[in-house]
């Protein structure tokens, strides 16, 4: 950790998951710091589990957080977080950044299921999530954004989520909302007053042979096959609780 500076906190966390050759997954690298402390939790079977434990609230304005996870060939990793990530206004000027880089090798499997990201009034955060899944790799990734705490106006939140499978882009989505975002973000084409927006991405090699059929899972929830062995569930809801409910149901629909 670079510590607290005039420009905010810098924190980096790294995870490497490796098949140990005896049917389980080891974590030769598990490094976190400050607000991105990592804890290995009880796994099940071949899967290793890690929980991101937020030691302090953040990110704040000017902070730069980065987290990277690599799942090697044949390894299985599940990552969650102990609590919601809360973007708060900071004393340092400028936006906060949160960059997530995920790599899944052939035969590897990653479940990336953090708690919600809550954009608090006055905050300014730019989140990027870039995932590279090799051919034959598997992924379940959930991203949930909640605009403002209950009854509160949101901060500025921009995000970009990019997923590649075997080097080819299957999903590239940017969303910008809150004060200062380009016009119409809360209008009838984009969010229409919904305060929680979520995406669930599932990458499985089986989707090549057995493509999933697009269908609606709710009034503002669509399950769509992407251009590649991947499926996206895109959902809008009134609040974070309802959003989680529909995404959990969607994951159940896809067979966990």
């Amino acid at each position: 950790m670079d510590g607290v500076t005039g420009t905010g906190v810098r924190a980096t966390a790294r995870i490497v998951a490796r098949a140990d050759g005896r049917g389980a997954t080891s974590l030769p690298v598990l490094e976190g710091e400050g607000p991105l402390a990592l804890r290995r939790t009880r796994g099940s079977g071949a899967e290793a589990r890690v929980t991101v434990v937020g030691a302090m609230s953040g990110p704040l304005g000017g902070d730069r957080f980065a987290i990277a996870a690599t799942v090697e060939r044949g390894a299985r990793l599940r990552v969650g977080s102990a609590a919601a990530t809360i973007a708060l206004p900071g004393q340092a000027k400028g936006e906060a950044r949160y960059d997530v880089r995920l790599d899944v090798a052939e035969g590897g499997e990653l479940h990336w299921l953090p708690e919600q990201l809550i954009s608090v009034k006055g905050s300014d955060l730019y989140v990027t999530t870039r995932v590279d899944v090799a051919a034959g790799g598997r992924l379940v990734l959930r991203e949930e954004q909640v605009l403002g705490r209950a009854g509160e106006a949101p901060g500025r939140l921009s995000s970009r989520l990019t997923v590649r499978v075997a080097g080819a882009p299957v999903l590239d989505q940017e969303l910008s909302c809150g004060p200062g975002a380009p016009g119409g973000w809360d209008g009838p084409a984009v969010l229409a007053g919904h305060r929680a927006v979520g995406q669930l991405i599932v990458v499985r090699p089986e989707f090549v042979a057995e493509p999933v059929v697009a269908r609606m899972l709710g009034e503002c929830v669509a399950l769509t096959p992407l251009a590649g062995p991947a499926v996206l569930v895109s959902a809008l809801a009134a609040d974070g609780l309802r959003l989680r409910r529909v995404l959990d149901a969607a994951l159940g629909e896809l067979g966990g």
Binding site: V163, P169, D172, L175, P188, A189, T224
Partner: protein
């Protein structure tokens, strides 16, 4: 080569299939989210800064000579809804047909041969603009304007909205179209050096989700 080619290409009567698409407006009307000129304007504004920016940048990048196949894959990744990917390819194919009659060229024939089921419409639009001697900004203007004029025309039909009010919406959005074109053209220039990932991927969740709902309707006026 003539600048007036821009008017030919941007004309709503250019026979490239756009008249049968509402750009998500039919769904928004059914859901009660567009009820008149004010909500039409917010709808168009949101669409312009999301799908419009993304389309304009793809079109501009195609003019600057980025690989069509790579741009088409980038468009796929920026369009999670299969209904919208299908519509974009259909429209791309229809645009190519009209353009090959209007500005015959081996380049357009080659794209038609490489993509028998169509490439994404904004990408085709860029290739067509270049063939017609137009610039990256011109192509971005076509894409950005079309992304708001389509819904506005559709809502005139769907709600019997006063056509003068609908056109006034487009007039009020014009300065924002300019800004989106600036951003799109700049991103396209960056993409020449940095690759297609430098292109914007701005998205509108409700347009994507709504397109899937719309695709399942048994009865609808518009194709998308």
């Amino acid at each position: 080569m003539s600048r007036a080619a821009l008017l030919v290409l941007a004309d709503g009567r250019f026979p490239a299939g756009g008249h049968a698409h509402s750009g998500g407006a039919e769904v928004a009307v059914r859901a009660g989210r567009i009820t008149g000129a004010a909500s039409l304007e917010e709808f168009c504004r949101g669409r312009l800064h999301t799908a419009g920016l993304t389309a304009a940048a793809l079109a501009a990048a195609a003019v600057l000579g980025l690989e069509v196949r790579e741009l088409d894959a980038a468009a796929d990744a920026r369009t999670p809804s299969p209904a919208l990917r299908g519509a974009a390819r259909k429209l791309g194919r229809q645009l190519l047909r009209a353009a090959r009659a209007t500005w015959p060229s081996p380049e357009l024939d080659a794209v038609a041969a490489e993509f028998p089921k169509g490439a994404h419409q904004p990408v085709v639009l860029g290739v067509v603009a270049r063939t017609a001697g137009l610039s990256a900004r011109d192509a971005a203007y076509c894409a950005a304007y079309e992304c708001v004029s389509g819904p506005a025309t559709a809502v005139v039909r769907l709600l019997s909205l006063d056509p003068f009010e609908a056109t006034a919406v487009l007039g009020r959005l014009a300065p924002e179209v300019d800004r989106v074109v600036d951003r799109a053209a700049e991103a396209a220039r960056e993409a020449v050096d940095e690759g297609v990932d430098a292109l914007p991927a701005a998205s509108a969740p409700l347009l994507e989700i709504g397109a899937e709902w719309h695709a399942g309707w048994a009865v609808r006026l518009f194709a998308s």
